[in-house]
């Protein structure tokens, strides 16, 4: 299915999502990269060794979730925008998602933006908690989402104030 639509299936995702026990312990990375391609910047970017060093440039990233602190440094290293960080129990009712964003305009801290799922469908409005501008222009946006949406939201749409007169 992924090969026909670009949307990973539940089976695909199962392979890359940490177990429940790890998820509740705090921020952790999820790498949605399912195809062997000659690419390795993620493994080199993680200074904690949580993404296991590649033996071959075509390896799939493999994460040692116990070593991962959810710092998010790897997010902007990935040319495929395939890396996310999830903090399941960020608040009682809410989770936090850090995601890569390369489309202008950048949202502002505190702004409400549309949350999009893996097919680009809008799931409602969510609040931006942090905007981290990165030199290589793959910025990292932190959003607060209802817990039920944490495994669904993977992108955002920002309203362009300039285009609304």
């Amino acid at each position: 299915m992924l090969e026909r639509t670009g949307i990973p299936t539940d089976d695909d995702l199962e392979k890359v999502i940490p177990d429940k026990k790890r998820l509740v312990q705090g921020p952790v990375v999820i790498i949605e990269c399912f195809q062997k391609i000659p690419c390795d910047p993620c493994a080199i970017s993680c200074k904690l060794g949580a993404i296991k060093p590649f033996r071959d440039i075509n390896d799939l990233p493999q994460v040692d979730f116990d070593k991962c602190t959810g710092c998010g440094i790897c997010i902007s290293s990935c040319p495929g925008l395939a890396i996310f960080v999830i903090d399941m129990n960020y608040l009682d009712e809410k989770s936090l998602i850090k995601l890569p964003h390369e489309i202008l305009p950048l949202p502002e801290k505190g702004e409400d933006v549309y949350a999009l799922d893996r097919a680009g469908s809008m799931l409602g409005k969510v609040k931006v908690i942090k905007v981290l501008k990165i030199k290589n222009k793959t910025n990292i946006i932190s959003i607060e989402v209802p817990k039920s949406m944490v495994m669904k939201v993977r992108s955002i749409k920002v309203e362009d104030k300039n285009n609304e007169r």
Partner: protein, 364 residues
């Protein structure tokens, strides 16, 4: 007279120039673009590949870095905005320069490295001559070099890496991509690219193609249709899309005219996307003084183009007697890196293609 004339200033040509010049050879690098860099200067996205070959860095930054390196060498003469139009016996090439193409020069070289890259393929469909039908390369040039948007609602034809990347660049420029159609039953480009476009709301229709476009002076509508395994339209599956622009990303073919002219032995290799010159593992063709590198040797990647460029640059320079202290080791290292780069399932075709185009037996 120059030692090595390099035709084409993309990643392959630039890498070849730097390597050959570092060994002391006098290099003349000729490119027909306004600036050096080839395809790279249109690439605003981050590159894949190994860290060593600049992965994670945007194409345009890679080009800038290499152009900077070129300037450090007094023994490289780089000529932009000039087209090599012909090849004559004894390694003489003709160069056309000037806005009107009215300056004609001849250059004699001891070795020639052809790194001319590739040409975009077209696609037949009803009304494909209406204004608003562009190749992906033209769209990239308009947007990323001249800051001009080609249209407001785009249909992308082709879900290989180029179609996916250009779609993403269009979205970044604030343009609506209505859909991507792909004739094959699966997405050909990297799935991470496909996923990042899909999650911005662009549907990708595999086993679909563009049937026709409507419009009087310009495009108003496009009709896409599902196709079967034999690439025949399936009646009743047509969809109408309101688009004003069609962007074709249906593949590239090696730009090998000069190699034909030079009398190199050519072969049609589908896995390499067209006619390519036979070459040995030093990237030397059947003509002793002519080398090739990059997309002209088979459509591949910037990362492999750079390695092939280095291999060609090294071996052309050494064949002229320039010294490389640890030649054996360097040569082996570059070839090993190239092999490693191709050691993934997506490169299976390339590897088959290269087998077909390779001259064995270590002729030197």
């Amino acid at each position: 007279m120059t030692d090595i004339a390099i035709i084409g200033g993309g990643p392959a040509g630039l890498s070849a120039a730097i390597y050959a010049a570092s060994l002391g050879a006098k290099v003349t690098l000729i490119d027909d673009g306004l600036e050096l860099g080839g395809q790279l200067i249109k690439q605003t996205h981050k590159f894949f590949g190994s860290e060593k070959q600049f992965a994670g860095i945007r194409g345009i930054e890679i080009a800038k870095k290499m152009i900077q390196d070129i300037k450090e060498y007094d023994n490289i003469e780089a000529i932009a905005n000039s087209t090599v139009t012909g090849y004559y016996e004894d390694e003489v090439i003709t160069i056309v320069q000037g806005v009107n193409g009215d300056i004609l020069k001849k250059l004699k070289a001891k070795r020639i490295i052809v790194a001319t890259g590739a040409l975009e393929n077209m696609l037949p469909f009803v009304n494909n001559d209406l204004p608003g039908v562009y190749g992906a390369g033209a769209v990239q040039t308009l947007m990323n070099l001249y800051g001009v948007v080609p249209g407001n609602n785009i249909l992308m034809v082709g879900a290989g890496n180029i179609g996916l990347i250009v779609s993403y660049q269009l979205l970044q420029a604030g343009i609506k991509v209505e859909a991507i159609v792909e004739a094959l039953p699966r997405i050909g480009g990297y799935l991470v690219h496909a996923s990042k476009i899909r999650r911005l709301g662009v549907p990708i229709y595999t086993s679909h193609t563009l049937k026709e476009v409507y419009g009087t002076d310009c495009i108003e509508k496009a009709v896409i249709s599902e196709i079967n395994r034999n690439f025949e339209f399936i009646p009743g599956t047509e969809k109408e899309l309101e688009v004003d622009t069609i962007c074709l990303a249906v593949g590239l073919s090696p730009l090998s005219d000069l190699l034909w002219q030079a009398g190199c032995q050519m072969k049609y290799v589908p896995e390499l996307c067209g006619y390519v010159a036979l070459r040995d593992d030093n990237m030397k063709t059947t003509k002793d003084k002519i080398y090739i590198a990059g997309d002209v040797a088979g459509i591949e990647e910037a990362s492999s183009a750079m390695l092939e460029g280095q291999i060609a640059g090294l071996n052309a320079a050494v064949s002229l007697g320039y010294k490389c202290d640890n030649y054996q080791e360097q040569d082996k290292k570059l070839k090993a890196e190239l092999r490693e780069l191709r050691d993934n399932p997506l490169s299976e075709e390339i590897k088959i293609g290269i087998e077909k185009a390779l001259i064995r037996g270590g002729r030197d």
